[in-house]
Amino acid sequence: MEGFAQWLGDTSASAVVQKTLWLIPLMQTIHIICVALVFSSVVMIEFRVLGYTKSGTVAETARRFVPWIFVGVVVMALTGAVLIIGEPARSLPSFEFQMKMLFLAIALVFTIMFAHSVRRHPDAWSDSSAARTAHSTLAIVALAAWCAVVIWGRWIAYTVVH
C-alpha cells in the first residue's frame, strides 16, 4: 500500500491536485456537505424507526432518504478519490483511513440490507412481527457504523505520517 501511495503521489495527476490551490478545500467542502446529507438521511430514518418522528410510514421515510445516502456516497467517493490522488501518503497507508473504509463497507452492507428489508416488508411496522425487529436492528447497526466512518475519517488528519 505504501508503494502504491508513493507511485500515485509521483503521478502528474497528483501534481495537478497539489498545485491547484483551491481544489483540495473545494473537494473537502463538497465531501463535508455530503457527509451532512448522508448522516442526516441516516438519522431521519433512525428517528422514524425509533418513533422520534411520526409522520409517514417507515417505508415512506426509507424511500425518501435512502437514495440521498447512495448519491451522497458516490459523490464522496469521487471527491475522496481526488483528495487521495492529491495526497496518497496521507490516507492510503494510514490505519485510520483503512478503518474508515472497513466501517464504510459495514455501513453500506447494513444500509442496503435495511433498504431491502423495508422494501420486502413495507407493512412490518403495522404489526409487531419479527421483520420489525430486523428493521430496527439493521437501522441501528447502520447508524453506528456511519458514526464510526465519520470518527475514523476525522482522525485521518491526525495520523502521524511515518
Partner: protein, 168 residues
Amino acid sequence: MQQFLDYLNSLGESPVSLWIAESTWAFPALEVVHIFAISMVFGTIAIIDLRLLGLASTRRPYSEMARELLPWTWGAFFAASICGSVLILSRPAGYFENTDFRLKFACMALAGVNMLVFQFITSKNLASWDRGAPPVAAKVAGAVSILMWIGVVYFARMTGFTMVQGGV
C-alpha cells in the same frame, strides 16, 4: 480593539485552552462532535430548503416538516455552538483575526437574517401553500439559506487551512 485582543490572548491561557493545546485527542474529539452536530444542522436545514425550493418532499405539508425537524436543528445548533466555542478557546485571538473564520460567521449571520425574514414576513401566508408549491419569496428564502450554509461549511473548512500550516 487592542484591549479586546489582549482579553482574547488571556483567554487563550485559560486551563481549558491549555488542556486542548496539550492533549493529543481533545481537539479532534471536539471536532468529531462538532461534525456530527453541524451535519444535523446542515442536513435538516437542507431538507427544509429543498422543500421551499420545490425540489424535494413536495407533497409533505411544510408546517409538519418544520414542526418535526426544527427542534432537532436547534438542538444540534446548540451542541455545535458549545463544541465550537471550546475549539475557539484553543486559540481565541488567532480565530478572531482569521479572515475565513470571520466570513464563516458573516455567512451564518446572513442565514440568520434570512431565517428571521422568512419566519416573520414571508411565511405569513403559509396556510395558502402549506401543501403545495411555495411562492417565489419562499423559494428565495430557501435558496439564500442553502447558499449561506454552504458558505459556512466552505469558510469553516478554509479556516482549518489558514489557521494551521498545511491544513488539517
